[in-house]
């Protein structure tokens, strides 16, 4: 700054005055600007307020159910009531991920690396259509079409694997007469989360650096070897977080479970029997219309448990995505 006072530089463009000009002259304050800025900031803040309200209301109305005397509660002691449902939620989601993840990754690879270029985008839309189907229609389809269709398979599974040492834990009979078991519900869930995992994985696979792929092919790799060497290692974090987001959806999905499952309040790993562990969301949908008094608070408290579980899963997914910024296309 001091150098500007010397003769050598004062002959060139005077710098201080221009700096002063930039720092002192502001644009004219306009009413429209003010209104627009405040509206925008207000909307952003409102979202934070809404979310805080969601959390506050859920916690506030859960507390009576957690602190009340178990004798007074409509559904008995809270944790004994909620635990089977929490188990059912995790178990059903786990099963659905077992079906959905390999298929979704396969579809994503098909669209990104196998399908003809012209068709690829159209095929992607077709898979996205699955995401557009309302969940209640999935429920109808699950009861009417899928359950009768898979029941012969369940009978076969129970006959052949039901008596074996380890597999018997999962495939023991008696087989449900309607086919509406947790395995069927998990299949419907899998179809519902498929488009989510596919959409993100596809984006991530498409972002594989061209040079990596071409280098691999130039060294004589077949297409599958190229995918294993270049595409999958690059895409793994993105695929993991895609699966977590799909898991978050599966945990919270209500109607497919409420309609397809013939529910019970049990903790059981058996896949084919008529008594299946219900999920938190499914139980709320079934029990809420008949709940009264503290029972409502109890159901809201189970909703809070569900909220916490999905929140943890989603935050982990976002954290994985954020720690690898190059996968931003997945957002």
């Amino acid at each position: 700054m001091a150098s500007t006072e010397t003769g050598a530089t004062s002959e060139s463009l005077p710098q201080d005055p221009t700096n002063d000009l930039q720092s002192t002259i502001h644009g004219k304050a306009r009413l429209g600007d003010k209104v627009f800025r405040n509206l925008s900031t207000g909307s952003g803040t409102l979202i934070l307020v809404i979310l805080a309200a969601v959390a506050t209301f859920l916690v506030g109305l859960s507390i009576p159910a957690l602190t009340a005397d178990p004798e007074e509660l409509q559904y008995g002691a809270f944790w004994a009531y909620a635990l089977p449902f929490a188990f059912g939620t995790v178990w059903a989601s786990f099963l659905s991920m077992l079906f959905a993840v390999p298929v979704a990754i396969g579809i994503a690879l098909f669209i990104s690396h196998y399908a003809p270029r012209r068709l690829a985008q159209g095929l992607g839309y077709v898979i996205d259509l699955l995401a557009a189907v309302p969940s209640v229609v999935f429920g109808l389809w699950g009861i009417n079409t899928l359950a009768p269709l898979v029941r012969p398979l369940y009978v076969w599974l129970a006959d052949n694997f039901g008596d074996l040492p380890v597999l018997g834990w999962f495939f023991a009979g008696p087989v449900s007469g309607t086919g509406r078991t947790i395995l069927t519900a998990a299949m419907v869930l899998a179809v519902m989360v498929l488009p989510i995992i596919t959409a993100i994985s596809r984006e991530v696979f498409l972002q594989t650096p061209r040079l990596h792929e071409e280098a691999s092919l130039a060294l004589g790799a077949t297409r599958w070897e190229m995918i294993r060497q270049a595409v999958l290692p690059f895409g793994t974090p993105g695929v993991v977080s895609a699966c977590m987001l799909g898991l978050g959806r599966a945990l919270g999905e209500t109607m497919a479970i409420a309609m397809v499952l013939s529910p019970a309040s049990v903790i059981s790993f058996e896949l084919l029997t008529p008594s299946n562990p219900n999920t938190i969301a499914g139980n709320i949908a079934l029990a809420f219309p008949e709940a009264f008094g503290l029972g409502v608070n109890q159901l809201i408290a189970t909703g809070l448990v569900l909220f916490v579980i999905t929140l943890a899963v989603n935050m982990t997914a976002r954290w994985i995505l954020a720690s690898r910024k190059e996968f931003s296309g997945a957002n």
Binding site: G32, F36, S40, G303
Partner: protein, 355 residues
């Protein structure tokens, strides 16, 4: 010697040691025929069993053939290709089956009466879903009216005003959190808010709209933010250089440029929440009569109508099931129609990205 042997070894050096292109299709046809034939010897086979066994035999036979002719690496490559393609076909099956069964069973009651009658005083056959259709339109419309301005202005804040300050980071984080809220939890939230204000056990269309708003805002914010970011900075700078104030620049330059993308995002968000069932089950509830006042009394909506028609049928069950399927067909038509409109707008007015 060489002149006589060359033509007989192969006619094309480049394809030597490879299976012909039609080999996979030929193998598939042969395998299905053989498997169906063999299984028919042991009694009438189920179609599903034939398909499953055929697929497994096809994969094994194709691997063996390719391994013998082309070597193990190419055999693995072929198998991977078949498995990946198979997964894609596998995912199409539920979509096709679902659309087929909905159309086949829904057409039975897809008549004028379904769109002109409510369920008031209907016990067995007859009746319709006009009350549920109006309910869906009102609830979704209200949710759109609330969430689109909030979502749009939030996106404007994030893109045009905030830069990378802490509030913006917090908003982005919590919009992500909101995306993950299970729909039933959103319903519980709206229910608790209204039961605290108006007393317990209140169902109304407005509470349903609030539940849908919670689900809709994050979708709108995300798509709008992405679209506003696509607007080139040169446009904004050109506008500023002409002395246009910032808010007019946003309103007259940025928003019109991104309009197609914004509309697409909103349409897809509407399509998404229109099919939501669980939050409306606990908030808007169900009624048999027409109710177009969203501020009081339960309001039937199409997804909830379908759910109750199917899950709690009356004594002759068939009319209830038929109404449920017709409702599902209407719902699927509306949602898929909205999706098609959204995609069409996006495709028609898409900014050229150069790829």
């Amino acid at each position: 010697m060489t002149a006589t042997t060359m033509p007989t070894t192969t006619d094309n050096q480049l394809t030597a040691g490879q299976l012909p292109r039609f080999s996979a299709i030929a193998m598939l046809v042969v395998v299905v025929a053989v498997v169906a034939g063999v299984m028919a010897l042991f009694g009438t086979p189920a179609i599903g069993a034939v398909v499953i066994v055929s697929v497994l035999v096809f994969l094994a036979a194709m691997y063996a053939l390719s391994w013998a002719v082309e070597g193990s690496r190419r055999a693995a490559d072929r198998t991977a290709g078949h498995v990946v393609t198979g997964f894609f076909v596998l995912a199409l099956l539920p979509l096709v089956s679902l659309v087929f069964s909905t159309v086949a069973k829904g057409l039975e009651r897809f008549d004028v009466q379904f769109f002109t009658y409510s369920m008031r005083n209907v016990i067995g056959e007859g009746g319709g879903a006009i009350h549920a259709i109006w309910g869906t339109i009102i609830v979704t419309g209200l949710a759109t009216l609330i969430s689109v301005p909030i979502g749009l202005f939030t996106a404007i804040y994030l893109v045009e005003y905030a830069g990378s300050n802490k509030l913006a980071a917090a908003i982005r984080l919590f919009v992500d959190v909101m995306t993950g809220i299970p729909s039933i939890v959103a319903g519980l939230f709206a229910y608790t808010v209204f039961s605290l204000i108006l007393g317990p056990g209140t169902n109304s269309g407005l509470s349903g709209a609030i539940a849908l708003t919670v689900l809709m805002i994050p979708t709108v914010v995300r798509s709008a933010e992405e679209m506003l970011r696509l607007v080139p900075n040169e446009l904004r700078e050109a506008s500023y250089a002409l002395g246009v104030p910032k808010w007019l620049t946003i309103a007259k330059v940025v928003l019109p440029t991104a309009l197609a993308g914004l509309v697409t995002g909103v349409v897809l968000a509407i399509a998404r929440v229109m099919g939501e069932t669980a939050p409306l089950l606990v908030t808007a509830g169900i009624t048999a009569s027409m109710n177009i006042n969203p501020f009081a009394d339960p309001m039937a909506t199409l997804p909830v109508f379908v759910y109750y028609q199917y899950m709690t049928p009356g004594v002759p069950q068939d009319p209830f099931y038929a109404r449920a399927w017709a409702g599902a067909l209407v719902l699927i038509l509306i949602v898929m129609g909205l999706n098609a409109i959204g995609r069409f707008i996006a495709w028609k007015f898409a900014p050229k990205t150069g790829r």
